[in-house]
Amino acid sequence: MFGEMIRQKSFGVSVAIFVILLLAPSFLPRFYIYFLAVIFVTALLAMSLNLCVGHGMLFQFHHGVFYGVGAYTTGLLLAKTSLPWWLAFVAGPLAAAFAGLLIGMFCIRLSRLYFGMLQISLGSLIWAIAFRWYDLTGGDDGIHGIPIPDFIASTTSSYYFVLMVLGICLILLYLILKSPFGSTLQAIRDNPERCAAVGINVRRHQLKAIVIATFFGGVAGVLFVVVEGSIFPDLLFWTLSLEIFIMCLLGGWFTFAGPILGAAFIVSLRTFVGTYTEYWTLILGIILILLIFFLPEGVMGYNYRKLFRSRTQYSAEGQTE
């Protein structure tokens, strides 16, 4: 499987980008290093969501919750206990995956929009608890100044750490998508009825996808703690989930690397437009409308049109019968 990955054309490009990013701290100012690290964290989050949305066609409307659960678990363990740091780092993604399993088992029985709505409701429960439980979570203020282990405490070292973890996660995600499991997931996305008919356990596969996606979402949450050193309830709020969802759509949700582009686009917009004006979401809204009207292919990518055209043809044929 590795061999196939290396033979891909885009593999060379990826390696080149990776090398440039490795060298970046030697020529970029500190602010940009921090900025890149924020993009990496968000990109991993969007990539993990896209495993459900783009490759599994599961309307994971409240993915931010798992990001938040990962960040809160690691942050609380680092700030409130004397456990070794690596245990806290491992606990974050595991807690997120466990939350994903629990919430997923509830939601998986429902279809599409209802799935998303139940997930928003269950996620909002977790948000409300983090928001109100002042004694444990610091309530709406959150917890700031979380002690980060020394070797990744500086901007540059945390940058390298985040880059390494992102690299490993991307390779893992790629391998998962190319594995039989990934192919089955995409087959279920394209035609769930037929997959069920040939004996694939559809819900079991979808639940697996959710657990994997939430695990990586939790990894992104841990990386957030490393970069920012703080946790707060906005990490669990549904507007963040909506934002990541839009990142997947913007970058092209049937592509592998699309969500990274979407994440980079939105984080850059927030960082750079945000320094000039507090009304950066207005600019984002206007850009979105321009994209919808003039560049719909740029929003979705070519594959989207291809898939949906074949699907509408299919349903049209079904109706004429």
């Binding site: 409701s121 429960l125 608890i129 549904w238 984002l284 929003v299």
Partner: protein
């Protein structure tokens, strides 16, 4: 908890009535969302922003007329119209060109609209907290089982059912209402018998947004009006629509009652985690009845 001093019959009935009046606001907002969802098949993410604009507009109109009773009654009529006008402009200038596209494009558009309206509201009204008084006749409270209950909430308890009956009469007795209902069931057929579908969409969208504005205007004397209220209401409204049954007006009513009453009993039972209760209720409803309480038009 039995026989606890805090939970008396009076406290229970007041809690129930407060929940009921909260449910009326939720119903007015949610019925609008449900109407748009039923006809256009698009979850309008900008609905909460229009509710917020309705509340801010009610504040400004009341202040324009000196902040008194006259100002408030005028605001109650004018603020929803202002919101309807905004939605009409957005619909006719941009939204109506997208009806032939995929649904996801419509959803993205309403998201963009939410972002734009949210920031425009911040530009016009700023980030301060605003509050207005209810009109003189609705100030103060009445006594129910010896406990005070705000008169304004009593007014909400009357307005809510009136709006529900009005909507029901409108959709079952008038021609345009019947067309809109038919469009919710089979859009192509409605187009095939020679009705301009684009205008049906426009009408449904504007009526839905009008209701959002009305809800915003009605809620403005009971809370402090501020930016950010759009994010809270929209998520509540979506959950209510989902547990009620998508596009079903009576479902919106049932969902609002569940949401409002569990919320106010949450405050009575466990104030710190009161916001958890309505979400818990949604989880229970969706676990027992995965497609909502009443029949969905989808």
């Amino acid at each position: 908890m039995e026989g606890g001093p805090a939970i008396t019959l009076a406290a229970l009935s007041i809690t129930f009535l407060v929940g009921l009046s909260r449910a009326m606001i939720l119903f007015i907002v949610t019925s609008g969302l449900s109407f748009v969802l039923g006809v256009l098949r698009v979850p309008n993410l900008a609905h909460g922003s229009l509710y917020m604009i309705g509340a801010f507009a009610a504040y400004s109109i009341t202040m324009l007329f000196g902040g008194g009773s006259v100002g408030f009654w005028l605001a109650l009529i004018l603020a929803p119209l202002v919101v309807a006008l905004i939605s009409l402009v957005a619909e006719r200038s941009l939204f109506c060109h997208l009806y032939q596209r995929e649904h996801l494009m419509l959803l993205l558009f309403t998201f963009a609209l939410m972002l734009i309206l949210g920031d425009l509201t911040k530009m016009v009204w700023g980030a301060d907290y605003r509050s207005i008084m209810p009109p003189t006749i609705l100030q103060g409270s009445v006594s129910i089982f010896g406990s005070p209950f705000p008169k304004y909430n009593l007014f909400l308890l009357i307005i809510g059912p009136l709006v529900a009956i009005g909507l029901w009469l409108f959709s079952s007795k008038t021609k345009i209402g019947k067309i809109a209902r038919a469009a919710a069931v089979d859009m192509e057929m409605v187009g095939a018998i020679g009705i301009n579908v684009s205008w049906v969409f426009a009408f449904a969208f504007v009526l839905g947004c009008f209701l959002a504005g009305l809800g915003g205007a009605l809620v403005s004397p009971t809370i402090s009006v501020t930016i950010g209220m759009d994010h809270n209401i929209i998520i509540e409204a979506f959950l209510i629509v989902t547990i009620g049954g998508l596009g079903n007006m009576w479902g919106a009513m049932v969902g609002s009652l569940i949401f409002g009453i569990t919320q106010s009993f949450g405050v009575l039972l466990w104030p710190q985690f009161a916001i958890v209760f309505p979400y818990l209720a949604v989880v229970i409803v969706l676990t027992l009845k995965p497609t909502g309480m009443l029949k969905s038009v989808w």
